[in-house]
Amino acid sequence: MENNNREVLEKIAKEVLGAKTPEEVEKAVKILIKSFM
């Protein structure tokens, strides 16, 4: 089954963490992944 975790984290990155550019979104997603480990 396809997982939507990346899409959820990207939405959080944009709407909550304020990431705007693709680079900022990618950086924020990495921070989020790390924060759950």
């Binding site: 396809e2 997982n3 975790n5 959820v8 790390k34």
Partner: protein
């Protein structure tokens, strides 16, 4: 300048001297007084998890009743049961008193044949494989909205935890002139695999059956570890802490093959960025002292738990600062006179030349990690006797 601010600046200078392995004005007395503080005041750690007032009360109590120069770890805790309830899983569970411990069977969520994926893309691997296995919230059948709202709830709990940390740090600094000497915490790459991916039996099997994969995964995780402290700037008197878990169980040959390459690369990178690195060498490390001598000179603080600290001083004292010396067991079970004898010997043998931080050999977590009368006596003794004349 207030006398409190003056005291804080003096302590910062003392710590900056000592962590750079120089001789300070006096031997600093370091607090690793964690959740023991709750028992000292008749509470349980659980009481503090849910009450900022109780956290503030026990914080003021331990900094009023005992002498300290600096804090490594305080009563505020970076975990909360609500976090793992929202996420639906995780590696920690909490006992009835509110102390967190590793949940049996929760760590080993990585298959041994997945090392190539981990090595190729650590972040992608965590996202695709580990998060859905570890947390119910990230499972494939959970809808988008539930995940989004769940993460916002996690953020709210983290805000509460951050507020507790700030309450502790503000009281320590503004009311007692004490600063927190640990600027950040990170794991050595192979310890990350042990603690969060493979657990002990898993990684020990991997070291026997696929040591190259463990070593390469460690190297792939160096940048991952550095990313976690990228925004932390070096500060006088402060360190980055690496608690070390696996090496005590490894023979020198396996340590050199699988653990040392990524650990050394990580430490070198941190030192290159201007940090002093505090390594908590948990349990015994004497069989690995030859390696520790190769760490960057005078850029390491070693916290030694079960090694003979006089042997440490002899073998490593010209290379790194040394912290510890008083076992929590002695602090609890020995008499006041015995504790004072132990501590006088520590100052006599370890203080000459500088680079010695007095403290317990590990964090004070449980009620049996120290007797208040002994703690009061030894801290005051070191404060007076540990002055360089």
């Amino acid at each position: 300048m207030s006398s409190l601010e003056q005291a804080r600046l003096e302590r910062m200078q003392i710590m900056d001297d000592v962590i750079n392995n120089r001789q300070p004005k006096r031997v600093p007395v370091l607090s690793a007084c964690s959740t023991w503080a709750y028992y000292y005041k008749g509470y349980k750690p659980l009481d503090g998890l849910n009450s900022e007032e109780i956290l503030a009360e026990v914080t003021r109590a331990i900094y009023t009743d005992f002498y300290w120069d600096v804090v490594d770890i305080g009563p505020a805790v970076a975990h909360h049961p609500d976090l793992y309830e929202i996420l639906g899983g995780g590696t920690f569970t909490f006992n009835q008193e509110g102390l967190h411990q590793t949940r049996p069977g929760a760590v080993n969520v990585m298959q041994p044949d997945e090392y190539p994926e981990l090595i190729k893309d650590p972040y992608g691997y965590m996202l695709e494989y580990i998060l859905p296995r570890r947390y119910a919230l990230f499972a494939p059948d959970v809808d988008f909205r539930t995940k989004y709202e769940g993460i916002l709830k996690v953020f709210a709990v983290r805000d509460r935890i951050a507020r507790q940390m700030k309450i502790h740090n503000d009281i320590a600094e503004k009311e007692f002139g004490l600063f927190n000497a640990v600027n950040g915490l990170l794991l050595a790459p192979v310890d990350f695999i042990l603690d969060y991916l493979r657990d002990f039996s898993g990684i020990m099997q991997d070291i026997k059956r696929r040591p190259e994969a463990v070593r390469e995964a460690g190297m792939a995780l160096v940048q991952y570890a550095l990313d976690g402290v990228a925004n932390i700037k070096p500060e006088a008197g402060k360190t980055l802490l690496i608690p070390m878990h696996l090496p005590t169980f490894l023979n020198p040959r396996d340590f050199e093959k699988v653990y040392w390459p990524s650990y050394k690369a990580l430490v070198d990178a941190l030192v290159e960025r201007g940090h002093i690195v505090k390594c908590a060498f948990e349990r015994k490390y004497e069989h690995l002292f030859d390696f520790l001598q190769e760490l960057p000179k005078n850029k390491i603080v070693g916290v030694f738990e079960d090694d003979d600290i006089r042997v440490v001083k002899k073998k490593l004292g010209d290379r790194m600062a040394i912290q510890g010396g008083l076992s929590t067991q002695a602090l609890y079970y020995a008499s006041k006179e015995e504790c004072l004898d132990i501590v006088k010997g520590l100052i006599d043998d370890l203080a000459p030349g500088g680079g010695y931080i007095f403290g317990t050999n590990k964090s004070m977590i449980h009620a049996t990690d120290g007797n208040p009368e002994n703690l009061k006596a030894v801290n005051e003794f070191v404060h007076e006797y540990g002055v360089y004349r």
